[in-house]
């Protein structure tokens, strides 16, 4: 992956960064095929962060380098000259200055221009043939070239030349190989002609222009890209190129040098001399372009150029002509026509390789995602099966229900059968079927999630409890398309719940039996009174009727009283029966008014309360929010609390045996019943202990009454607790959540 810009590259830890006169050169380390040819050049330096000495150091070195390189390049240019015209065949200062400008911000260009000028002027003192005016004019042409190329690249937003893209390379070649040489040739030819330093011959201006242009083009397409590449990635070259690559590169350069020596400098090769000589370097250039990239290609071109120039200057090789200048020009054309396609091919290859690298990354990424998905699915399936979880999706358009394998297993469906919703509903226990069917339909109509617990009947007649959860999915128009969800077999949990509920109900029942035992005396009294009255009334009626003139009006009154007493006895028995009701295995919860439950409880306990001479005051609020509970069990709790309260006041003076029973609603919205006695109260450290089993203050008690009461209240998701009253005695509270 290559960072596209300087800022991006800076934030990317995979990139190395080199600074050059405030210019950041970033080279990609992670190139897929040949990292050494990945060139990304940034020009937004972060020089301001460096301290002054470092900054000066960093500026001075490149300036000096440019100065020296220009001096040496000029020396080289003075030596490598056209045999006849005398102008430089290859003028390296052009590449040096241009590279410096491209690699530095415009604000520092003047420094490098000055350095280049100084370097060039130093040449004059070493070369007798050069005049200051000529040197100055060629340097001005050099400025024009370098400024036009750096300026044009910036104007074209290509200030970071990219040799790894065809477009970037084409733009660079157009500017560095066409525009800048033209500008330089125009300026240079004008100066040379006006200074009168022209060799004899026709059309001096255009002759000079042509040689300058082609000379600069060769430098622009060979030396300049190479310098840029060296500065861009030179420091990473050693790290990123392995021995195998170095060997290949050596082979390439060695082979190319050998071939070039033979083809471009050697003596004649016989009948096929020219084509062989011209095409001999081509395989190596293709090798460089295909296997290495633009920088190596530039370097290869430079090798070819060097040998070609050596040949032509010595009158050897395919470009040896008379006059010699024509040979140089044909050499130029050969180099241009060789260089441009080679560089473009190298760029194209690099671009393709990068696309391939991206594709490779994409494919690898997709493969990883796919692997992760697949292993995720497998893990999910494993986890789902372990958790006894089945998946389902109900297509609302086709009514077909897709089920995972475990989902089918849970419903007891064969693997080959694609059920509809109706098929599944048909497998639901008949007592639950309508509820489930309505719940599913409601969920779709109301667009709400669905959650149900129900029984299914398998083909072998066995019942299973299932818990089903689902939610709707909608299309783009907001129309529900399917309901998806999970189903879990909760038979074991349900069985345990039912068993627990049965145990609790049995315990509660035993508690009631115990309470009845405790109340038996009072209940017997309540029965004996009407029975006695009935017996005596019947005897009285018999006696009256035995008289000669029976008082029939009195008999009617007696019969009415008998009926009344019979009803009284019936009520007592009914209360007895309700408390003895077992109710195990049956859902007995219903919405209740707690005040009504309290009144019932007081009725049941009335005989005992009266027998103990306790006066009861009621403070029942009505209506209160209904609570959801078992009427008999809640009555049982109330009776227990009332009887305990009466017992607590057993030692009180008769006028102090007062009981207050009431209902209200607390701040949290709970419905509360309270029983206030005037007994001796409870020791503070025993306030919680009294609800534990076998904790009792009575000599003949088992201590299970309040423990059972708390079990009952907990099953109602309520609270049962006791406090001591400031004025004496205790208050027991029963708080129940209101119906949802």
């Amino acid at each position: 992956m290559t960072c596209r810009g300087y800022d991006e590259a800076r934030s990317c830890p995979r990139h190395a960064e080199t600074r050059f006169a405030g210019v950041a050169l970033i080279a990609d380390e992670g190139a897929w095929m040949n990292p050494s040819d990945q060139i990304v050049i940034g020009t937004r330096g972060a020089i301001g962060r460096a301290d002054a000495s470092t900054r000066h150091h960093r500026v001075a070195l490149p300036v000096l380098a440019v100065c020296v390189a220009t001096f040496l390049g000029s020396q080289f240019g003075a030596v490598v000259r056209f045999p006849d015209a005398g102008s430089a065949i290859l003028f390296p200062p052009y590449a040096v200055l241009t590279a410096a400008l491209i690699l530095s911000p415009p604000s520092r260009w003047w420094v490098f221009l000055f350095a280049s000028f100084v370097g060039h002027m130093l040449t004059v003192s070493f070369a007798d043939s050069l005049t200051v005016a000529f040197a100055a004019s060629t340097e001005l042409a050099n400025f024009a070239r370098a400024l036009s190329i750096a300026g044009a690249l910036r104007w074209l937003k290509q200030d970071r030349p990219r040799f790894d893209s065809l477009d970037g390379t084409a733009v660079f070649l157009a500017v560095a190989g066409l525009l800048a040489p033209a500008v330089g040739a125009t300026v240079g030819a004008t100066f040379v002609v006006s200074l009168g330093q022209v060799t004899p011959g026709p059309e001096p201006y255009w002759r000079i222009w042509r040689t300058w242009f082609l000379s600069n083009t060769i430098v622009g397409v060979t030396l300049l890209p190479l310098i840029l590449a060296v500065f861009a990635h030179g420091h990473t070259f050693r790290r990123t190129v392995n021995g195998k690559r170095v060997a290949e590169l050596s082979l390439l350069f060695g082979g190319l040098a050998a071939v070039s020596l033979v083809a471009l400098v050697g003596s004649t090769l016989g009948a096929f001399d020219l084509p062989v000589r011209l095409y001999a370097p081509l395989p190596f250039l293709l090798w460089a372009a295909m296997r290495f990239g633009p920088a190596t290609t530039s370097a290869s071109l430079l090798i070819v150029t060097a040998f070609a120039i050596t040949g032509v200057m010595n009158g050897l090789g395919p470009f040896a002509r008379t006059p010699s200048d024509d040979g140089v020009l044909s050499l130029y054309l050969f180099l241009v026509f060789t260089s441009v396609p080679s560089l473009l091919l190298a760029a194209l290859m690099k671009e393709r390789l990068q696309v391939l690298a991206v594709l490779h990354d994409d494919i690898a990424e997709r493969k990883r995602a796919q692997d992760a998905l697949q292993s995720g699915e497998e893990r999910m399936a494993l986890a789902a099966t372990s958790a006894n979880l089945g998946f389902w999706a109900w297509n609302l358009r086709t009514d077909v229900v897709w089920l995972s394998d475990h989902g089918r297993d849970v419903f007891g469906l064969p693997m080959s059968f694609d059920p509809t919703c109706e098929h599944l509903i048909a497998r639901v226990h008949e007592e639950d079927r309508q509820r489930v069917s309505e719940a599913c339909a409601d969920a779709v109509t109301r667009r709400e999630p669905c959650e149900q617990e129900f029984r299914t009947v398998r083909d072998d007649g066995k019942q299973r409890w299932l818990s089903l959860k689902g939610r709707l999915e909608f299309d783009g128009d907001g129309i529900p398309t399917q309901m998806v969800g999970v189903v879990i077999d909760v038979t074991e949990r349900k069985r345990a719940e039912i068993e627990l509920q049965d145990r609790r109900q049995e315990l509660a029942h035993l508690g009631r039996v115990a309470t009845l035992g405790q109340m038996s005396g009072a209940l017997a009294h309540e029965l004996r009174q009407p029975l006695t009255a009935i017996q005596f009334n019947a005897r009285a009626a018999q006696n009256i009727l035995e008289k000669e003139e029976p008082d029939l009006a009195e008999v009617r009154a007696i019969l009415k009283d008998i009926a009344h007493d019979d009803a009284r006895a019936g009520e007592v028995i009914a209360r007895l029966r309700s408390l003895l009701k077992k109710g195990v295995g049956q859902p007995t919860f219903e919405p209740l008014q707690l005040s009504a439950v309290v009144e019932d409880g007081l009725d049941i306990a009335r005989g005992d309360v009266m027998a103990r001479g306790v006066a009861v005051t009621t403070e029942l609020e009505s209506p209160l929010s209904p609570v959801y509970g078992d009427r008999v069990e809640l009555q049982q709790v109330l009776v227990n609390l009332v009887l305990n309260a009466c017992e607590a006041m057993g030692c009180n003076a008769p006028e102090d045996r007062r009981l207050t029973v009431g209902t209200t609603c607390d701040d949290a919205g709970f419905v509360v019943a309270y029983v206030v006695d005037r007994g001796t109260g409870i020791r503070p450290d025993k306030l919680e202990q009294v609800f534990e089993p076998f904790v009792t203050s009575k000599p003949d008690g088992l201590g299970l009454g309040l423990a059972i009461c708390r079990t009952i209240v907990n099953a109602h998701r309520g609270r049962l607790w006791a406090t001591n009253n400031p004025e004496g005695g205790a208050t027991f509270y029963l708080a129940l959540p209101p119906c949802a």
């Binding site: 005396g521 017996q535 005596f536 009334n537 005897r539 007493d565």
Partner: protein, 139 residues
């Protein structure tokens, strides 16, 4: 209060007073005794009875329930003890519907034949009342 004195004037020597807080029982007992030709008055509370009777005008037999309802009310035992302490010689039959009341408490006050546990036989009750009245008369 619920006081019936429709036969008050007829036979002062065979006057029976019934004190029971249960209206049904009170009325039923009274009906049977009246059918036997006795003069009967019924009272709901001990206080009502005390208000209606005097030392010179005591019943031949007082049928008294022990539990007279209400914490602030005088119980049958208390009325019995009060009369005994006051020196009023009234033959008393004690009644109770509660098993918990010890027979010893009953017997200590009225003798082993002088109390009844509800529900009791009609004949047994009538016979006990008659026996008590006769005993009073013979005194």
């Amino acid at each position: 209060m619920a006081t019936q004195s429709d036969h008050w004037h007829r036979q002062p020597d065979e006057w029976v007073a019934i004190v029971d807080d249960d209206g049904s029982v009170r009325t039923a007992l009274a009906r049977v005794l009246r059918a036997e030709g006795l003069r009967v008055d019924t009272f709901c509370t001990a206080q009502d009875y005390l208000a209606a009777s005097t030392s010179s005008n005591a019943p031949s037999c007082l049928v008294l329930d022990i539990h007279l309802g209400g914490a602030s009310r005088m119980s049958g035992f208390e009325l019995h003890d009060f009369l005994a302490e006051s020196g009023v010689a009234v033959p008393i039959i004690l009644m109770t519907a509660h098993d918990e009341v010890p027979s010893a408490d009953l017997a200590r006050r009225v003798g082993s034949d002088g109390y009844l546990r509800k529900p009791f036989e009609c004949d047994a009750f009538v016979n006990l009342v008659r026996r008590t009245i006769r005993a009073t008369a013979s005194d």
